[in-house]
Amino acid sequence: MTTVALEDAARVAASVRFTPARAALVLGGLLLLVVAALGVSVLLGEYPVHLVRALSEPGTPDGRVLFGLRIPRALLGAMVGASLAASGSALQSLLRNPLADPFVLGVSGGAALGATLALALGLQALAGPSLFAFVGAVAAMTLVLAAGRARSSPYAALLTGVVFNAFAAAVITCVKTLLTPDRLGEVLYWLAGNLGYERPRTLLVGGALQLVALGVLWAESARLNLLSLGDDEAASLGVPVRRTRAIVLVATSLSVAAAVALAGLVGFVGLIVPHVLRLWLGPDQRLLIPASALGGAAFLVLADAGTRMLFGVFHAEPPVGVVTAVLGGPLFVWLLSRREHTP
């Protein structure tokens, strides 16, 4: 009798993949991965940091590199990766399209356009590029999703995003031709997507904003599960569709805009990380959103550490956005080609 009950419990466990116990196990494991990634990232680089010396004497070169450069940069990477991956996961559910990604949806195009304009106008002070990027990202996301919702096809928003990116790229090119060489350099570096140095206060404000935005997404995750079945089905199961959509859109827009404002264009993180995790964990957003946040953080921190290692090869540091694009572009094409058979 007990074996029957046990077998039965095992069958239910295999069929219902989201349980608090499993979530705790998965998220705990991913958290360890993030910590490990942060550890690797702060120790790796052109200048080998002696950890004991840095910790015992923060005034030494070791300490200054660790606390002044490596740790802020690693934390920034974690923050941006978490934001992009969790937002990607939420958008994929909302738009019922596994190809949805903040980068593809034109948010990044909008942000880039905003930042380029700010740099071109010489508004480097007062966090001008970040602010303009923020406004551009929110505007682009609103535009793309409004256009995409007018026709409720899961591809409409995506196509609008692609077109918007092309439009933004054209305007940026136009601005670039008008710039002086030194300003052009700044624009180019910003556009490539890099994790640079940010002041502790910026990190703190950004981190608080991300925590709130991702917390909201996690709180909405059960309703996102139902929305992934379609608006009408979700409504018939008790989801206030319009309100939920609005909440998720505002939270993802803010999160992504803040990430782009801090790190420039880092593409495809929102595509790669949720996709890999979905293969492992299933489609339940209650687990996928926090798992994507942690997985995205670890992924981007490691990718950034990787770019620093490339310094030894190229004698220049390629932006981390290049690494994610090199990984993400082919994945996108592969996903598109096998979409008919995607589970």
């Binding site: 069958r11 069929s15 139902l226 008790g238 489609p283």
Partner: protein, 261 residues
């Protein structure tokens, strides 16, 4: 206004945009009754159900659910009383069969949808009842159209509604499952459920429904007890083709298109 009716409409017009697909519909669906909606394609049967669910705003007239006007219902409260089996299901979903059926419990759960033992028990009982317990661990997007359809019926039954709206619940189903789904709905109707099913087979309507609503060309061709309304003459006019009628030994009526002589 009787508060006992699950659904009550008066002079209701439904449709998209300015054109009404069905107009002047006055219908009362009481608990313990199974209504079948019959009519040619495009007669507005699905639109009627979608209007009752509040997805399409009514173009005119009044619509009350359990005595309360439709616009006064909020989504979650409505989902505890009214369930819907949609006509189509796009199968991108990677959820398992049991996960999908458990979603029917979500209006009864906390906001985060963690199933309690009772939710699990209900979901699994419904799946056993429809003989789809073996689909519990299967990924929905890899199932056949009929299997998905059975899961959607199971989800709606797990919702434990007082009014069940079924949009072609028998589509994609083999003969045995068609009868089984309607039998299980029928059993709940005996227990006080009100149900409205859009059907394409008048024989199923004759076998299972208490009452029928016949829609054609934007108007009601007839509504009332199935035994009185279903005859070859009226159904012939409904579908615009000649129908032959026969009776089985047990007294059931059967309808079929007249073949060529």
């Amino acid at each position: 206004m009787t508060t006992s009716a699950a659904l009550e409409t008066s002079a209701l017009s439904v449709g998209y945009g300015p054109c009404a697909v069905v107009s002047e519909l006055s219908l009362t669906v009481a608990p313990g009754a199974l209504w079948a909606v019959l009519g040619p394609n495009g007669a507005g049967k699905s639109t009627l159900l979608r209007t009752v669910l509040g997805f399409v705003p009514p173009l005119g007239g009044a619509l009350h659910l359990f005595g309360t006007p439709l616009e006064r219902w909020e989504r979650r409260g409505l989902a505890r009383r009214v369930a819907w089996v949609p006509q189509t299901f796009d199968g991108e979903s990677g959820f398992t069969g049991l996960e999908l059926v458990l979603m029917g419990r979500s209006p009864h759960q906390g906001g985060w949808g963690l199933p309690g033992p009772r939710d699990l028990a209900i979901a699994r009982a419904v799946m056993a009842e429809l003989r789809i317990a073996h689909l519990a661990g299967r990924v929905v997007s890899r199932l056949s159209g009929g299997e998905r359809r059975l899961l959607l019926v199971a989800r709606a039954l797990a919702q434990e509604p007082d009014l069940l709206l079924l949009d072609e619940p028998t589509a994609f189903l083999d003969l045995q499952h068609q009868a089984q789904v309607l039998e299980r709905v029928r059993a709940r109707v005996r227990g006080g459920l009100a149900a409205i099913a859009v059907l394409h087979d008048p024989n199923l309507a004759a076998a299972f429904a208490d009452a029928v609503l016949l829609l054609r060309d934007g108007r009601v061709l007839g509504q009332g007890p199935a035994t009185e309304l279903l005859d070859s003459d009226r159904l012939g006019r409904l579908y615009g083709l000649g129908l032959a009628e026969a009776r089985t030994d047990s007294g059931h009526r059967l309808f079929a298109p007249r073949g060529r002589p």
